[in-house]
């Protein structure tokens, strides 16, 4: 994000768009509560009346899948109301006229049918966001990124921040949050098919040369083309283009859409390696499992969504055969003919810093204890903790240092509801459990608070029409598959849409979701597919059925994991 998370507290206005911090990042939600206590205006735009909506000055219930139509009308209202900063646009942006050609087609009135938003409320929100004296922050989450027009929406949000000059000055900017802990770190460290660490392109010969030299390999050994994305692995495996998949710290059979189909595709691989700390459903079908260590057992650095590096240290030593991820990678690399050896994580970090100018100043010393370093950070001066706000003064990282305004036309989501599948299915987070639940599912307290078969949130009127009562087990199905889960009648959500969390193993929403990715970010459209839900008359049977499914699944995983109880034969695995 262009701003820092602690800085949210000093914003004049915070507008949340497709982001529910109370469920995804309670710590950020707390900052927003504090901002409100300090006098900030809060705008919440979401199909659901989320926790933060309760303290919002303006809450707007937007129809699912209408983001671009809404934001275009919002930008239009900013221009029409005279809230744009012409001087900033003139000096620090390009492409305003072309941008406005698109924007002017979308008025609060002519988009109302798509967005469901009352024009007067939209205008009031536009005024509040665009005219805050102290500056506005626009926070967005997966409600933007997991849509068909995700990249387009990001362009639109950035342009909106530019034309209203809510970027390039303190206490304002854009705040995209990451879905999981250290997703930012994965990107920072080049866990992307198109980037080396520090966002240096694999297609840039100078970059390749630099890394080849540092690693002591001929430059031809480093790939010069963009690789496959995780979300394309299944299809590529089925098409015979991917033969081996080394999966670590992920449980795609739980977290990726259309999980039943993905399972078939991954089962067709020649080699599937999983590196994990628990026996997950993906580990279950793996050929090789490499036991890694958990966050409590290793040292490292996390990057927060706001570009802040924070160091953490091991609390307990690894157990049994488990090795740190970096040790496993070094061992494998050595056996594959490239000797790799590090004594500790600091050595790796220092090598990385020396190759990434934007991270160079993030020394371990600065991050000692509760210390931190926020990139870009080029100086190793112990008092320099980096850059809380990006683009100050309106200087951007484009070749001409200007922001390039972009606007797009709205398109409807891929799979619209119809007679057979009348409900929209949208995946969300719940408080308590985290990600694929392999970690939090093993936590006693969290399992007491919420357990299998999970929940499907449904509006009381949609439930009444189907004879569904709160807490009952229901059947939900789509064109892809079916699942059994518990109904949670929630008056805070909109009618016509049901919400499920991808963490539940028995009530697995990813048996239902559509696998459709955009062609730029390759992110699945998890926020929109069509499904149906029905009541089950025999609840005693239903309860028994889900209990049995859960017990069987746990039993299967436990049996798989039992293989490790056998003492390894031959030489110890690690030298």
């Amino acid at each position: 994000m262009s701003v820092s998370i602690p800085g949210l507290e000093d914003a004049g206005c915070i507008m949340l768009f497709g982001y529910n911090p109370a469920a995804s990042h309670p710590i950020v939600a707390r900052r927003i509560v504090r901002a409100k206590q300090k006098g900030a205006k809060i705008i919440v735009i979401d199909p659901r009346y989320i926790e933060t909506a309760r303290i919002a000055d303006i809450y707007i219930r937007i129809n699912n899948g209408s983001n671009i139509a809404f934001l275009n009308a919002f930008a239009n209202a900013c221009v029409e109301g005279g809230y744009i900063d012409k001087e900033f646009i003139e000096e620090h942006t390009t492409g305003f006229d072309a941008w406005y050609e698109t924007i002017k087609k979308y008025t609060p009135e002519n988009t109302q049918k798509i967005t469901g938003v009352d024009p007067a409320t939209l205008r009031a929100a536009a005024k509040m966001y665009a005219t805050s004296e102290t500056g506005s922050v626009l926070g967005y989450g997966m409600g933007v990124c997991q849509q068909l027009q995700n990249v387009e929406t990001v362009h639109t949000i950035a342009s909106l921040a530019c034309v209203t000059h809510n970027i390039g000055r303190p206490n304002s900017g854009v705040a995209p949050v990451r879905g999981q802990n250290n997703v930012q770190g994965s990107c920072d460290m080049g866990m992307l098919p198109n980037m080396y660490p520090g966002y240096q392109k694999v297609t840039d010969p100078k970059v390749r040369e630099k890394f080849a030299k540092a690693w002591g390999v001929p430059v031809e050994k480093l790939s010069d083309h963009i690789g496959y994305r995780l979300t394309d692995v299944g299809e590529n495996a089925a098409a015979g283009k991917v033969h081996a998949f080394y999966n670590f710290g992920e449980d795609p059979l739980q977290t990726e859409p259309d999980a039943d189909e993905l399972k078939k595709q991954l089962q067709g691989l020649d080699l599937l390696i999983c590196q994990d700390i628990f026996m997950t459903q993906t580990c279950e079908i793996a050929d090789v499992i490499l036991p890694g260590t958990s966050w409590g057992e290793h040292d490292g650095v996390f990057s927060a969504s706001d570009r802040t590096f924070q160091r953490f240290t091991a609390a307990v030593p690894p157990k049994g055969e488990c090795r740190h991820d970096w040790q496993i990678f070094s061992e494998i690399s050595t056996r594959m003919g490239y000797p790799m050896h590090y004594e500790n994580t600091k050595e790796i970090w220092d090598e990385m810093r020396s190759l990434c100018p934007n991270f160079y100043g993030a020394t371990y010393e600065k991050m000692e204890g509760l210390g931190y370093a926020q990139w870009p950070i080029t100086s190793t001066d112990p008092d320099d903790h980096g850059t809380p706000t990006l683009f100050l003064g309106g200087t951007f990282t484009t070749p001409d240092h200007k922001a390039h305004l972009m606007a797009h036309d709205w398109e409807h989501p891929t799979e619209l509801p119809d007679e057979d599948y009348p409900l929209i299915l949208c995946t969300v987070r719940e408080v308590g459990h985290y990600s694929c639940r392999s970690m939090t599912g093993n936590c006693k307290a969290l399992s007491v608070l919420a357990d299998e078969p999970g929940f499907i949130q449904i509006h009381p009127e949609d439930a009444a029409a189907r004879g569904i009562e709160d807490g009952q087990i229901v059947r939900a199905w789509s064109r892809r598959g079916e699942t059994y889960t518990r109904a949670h009648l929630n008056p805070r959500i909109n009618k016509g849409t049901v919400y499920m969390t991808y963490q539940w193993w028995v009530g697995k929403c990813n048996r239902l979701t559509l696998h459709h990715t955009d062609n730029r970010s390759h992110t699945p459209e998890d926020k929109f597919s069509a499904c149906n839900v029905e009541a089950i008359a025999d609840q005693t049977w239903a309860e028994k059925h889900v209990a049995k499914e859960y017990a069987e699944l746990k039993g299967r995983l436990a049996d798989e994991a039992a293989a490790q109880e056998v003492a390894p034969k031959g030489e110890p695995v690690l030298a």
């Binding site: 911090p21 710590i27 009346y49 926790e51 303290i55 408080v431 008056p491």
Partner: protein, 183 residues
């Protein structure tokens, strides 16, 4: 001295249930049940936990036929004698806040040093104010938005005094003496 109780500020509560996890963890030990004593409850517009009010004339105490719930003035609370509970759930019906629950678990039936089999032992699940916790209530300490506080007599008196001040502030407008408008 009057009883104390836990009160939420629903304005800043974000419905995260951290208080419930903390309460559960505090009670996750021998002889107790690992179950939260407060429940975060959501309506269309409010999110806030509900816990026992430690009523001064407690319906649950009055309803309990065996004295498993009792007034404990020394600790400013309504307390529990687990060994007496017979699981009749009179307290559950009597409590106007839905703040008390009865849960059973299978335990050995012991007489002296002999085990005669098993029986279902009932437990009262209700806030105990964490009186045996040196740092005070676990939920209050865990709440990340500082939504929760332990209300005692002094705090209540302060709240009342503030409300009276607020109420009288507007009353200046009602003055019968012309020109005596009080700012």
């Amino acid at each position: 001295m009057a009883n104390k109780f836990i009160v939420p500020d629903p304005g800043v509560c974000i419905g995260c249930k951290t208080c419930m996890a903390a309460c559960l963890a505090k009670h996750d030990r021998g002889g107790e049940m690992a179950i939260p004593r407060l429940s975060v409850t959501y309506t269309l517009t409010v999110s806030a936990p509900v816990a026992c009010h430690h009523c001064m004339d407690a319906p649950c105490v009055n309803a309990c036929p065996v004295g498993a719930l009792y007034e404990d003035p020394a600790n400013h609370r309504v307390a529990i004698r687990q060994e007496r509970c017979i699981g009749c759930r009179s307290c559950v019906m009597a409590c106007p806040f839905g703040a008390v629950d009865i849960v059973t678990r299978t335990e050995p039936l012991v007489a002296g040093c002999e085990v005669f089999g098993t029986h279902e032992k009932a437990y009262v699940i209700k806030c105990d104010l964490c009186v045996d916790r040196p740092e005070g209530p676990a939920c209050v300490q865990a709440c990340l938005t500082k939504s929760l506080r332990l209300m005692d007599e002094d705090e209540l008196a302060r709240m009342q005094a503030q409300k009276r001040t607020d109420a009288v502030a507007g009353a200046g407008e009602l003055s019968s003496i012309a020109g005596a408008r009080i700012a």
